[in-house]
Symmetry: C2
Subunit: 224 residues, 2 copies
């Protein structure tokens, strides 16, 4: 399974200018391929954002040539999911003006839909995205974004880690050394936001990028 | 009726750092005052955005001293609504890094809730807000934001005006002189986005500001 994708702005796909093609030599029936792709896209391409502005024509195509013959569905699923996740992450990593890729994980949710709602709200917040541009371990912006997502959120049960360091727990900030954490947010390959809701077993992953002055320049100066 | 308000960021109020106090010398019962204020706030303070990031503690208080004695409810309503609308507009006008106030009107909707959903989506789009920073009459960004709001949207029946000039109608761009319109977007007191859905009588007004490099600087450099 191999894949290709383009898109760096007007990115908040809901299979609406993002374009991706995934190819496999597995033999797979069209209906099964469509079902597989829809499920994987829901957890990969539809879980990225650059600017929260869905395009009118995002497209992911899965092409199956069949030369390899039938493949175990679970093996094909895992291969397609792996390729789609790698492509999806690469889009915000290459987002307009972006200097950092951010992975938001919301875990401990009652349902995956709740986790996704929190993760999307965090990933779309300009205040969270500018804090990351500044290397600011600003837990308040992250927690307040989640709190406004509309999905259930009990601060008393929740905790937040940045780059693996707990910065907020049970509704209260946890003391941490700011300078080293800020340095890690700037230097490590990915900014990792990990919010545990503490109420269940479901989780969702979402990918975004920082919001920089370069993003504004590109989009204020670009005329169509 | 007089009022005061503060707040320039973390502004997407849902009566969650915005603070406003409205005072009147009308004699009005607490229950009537609360009902009046809730209705007016729903159409004024809850219809502004700077960054789409709701604060945890927006507050609007209506204080009624009673010295003026009883007042006709309609007259009090209009006075409170007028004060709240003026205060609400002044917040994004004074938003972080903002150079322009934007008024989004969505009309011709089946319901006010539909109109509000479209207006909020347009007002929160970073692509729309950067286009305004650049004086770009970019109808595509506006129409595509509305189309992704989730509320009913039929391009064949809709039309869009910028500063009163029709730029898009029935799903098709309408030729216009770009340079003068761009100049008016930069020079006039307010950027007026007016989307007519063409399906009903309901409308909603929403206020936002442009998204500039100064916004990013303020929020990437500000540490908490």
């Amino acid at each position: 399974v191999v894949g290709l994708a383009k898109g760096a702005a007007m990115i908040a796909p809901n299979m609406a200018t993002m374009l991706a093609v995934v190819m496999t030599d597995a033999a797979v029936a069209p209906e099964a391929a469509q079902a597989l792709l829809a499920e994987v896209v829901g957890r990969t391409f539809n879980r990225i954002t650059v600017d929260g502005h869905a395009s009118t024509n995002d497209t992911v195509l899965l092409l199956a040539g069949g030369a390899a013959g039938p493949v175990a569905p679970a093996a094909l699923h895992d291969a397609v999911a792996s390729v789609c996740a790698a492509l999806a992450r690469s889009i915000p990593a290459d987002g307009e003006g972006a200097t950092r890729l951010v992975e938001v994980v919301v875990r401990g949710a009652a349902t995956e839909a709740d986790a996704e709602r929190h993760a999307r709200r965090i990933a779309e917040s300009p205040l969270v995205k500018t804090a990351i541009a500044g290397g600011d371990p600003n837990w308040g912006r992250i927690v307040s974004a989640a709190g406004a997502s509309g999905a259930p959120f009990d601060p008393a049960r929740a905790s937040l880690r940045l780059q693996g360091t707990t910065v907020w727990s049970a509704g209260t900030p946890v003391p941490f050394a700011e300078a080293p954490l800020s340095a890690r947010m700037r230097d490590e390959e990915i900014v990792a936001i990990d919010l545990d809701l503490g109420v269940g077993e479901a989780e969702a992953r979402f990918w975004t990028c920082d919001l920089t002055e370069a993003y504004v320049r590109l989009n204020a100066d670009y005329r169509t």
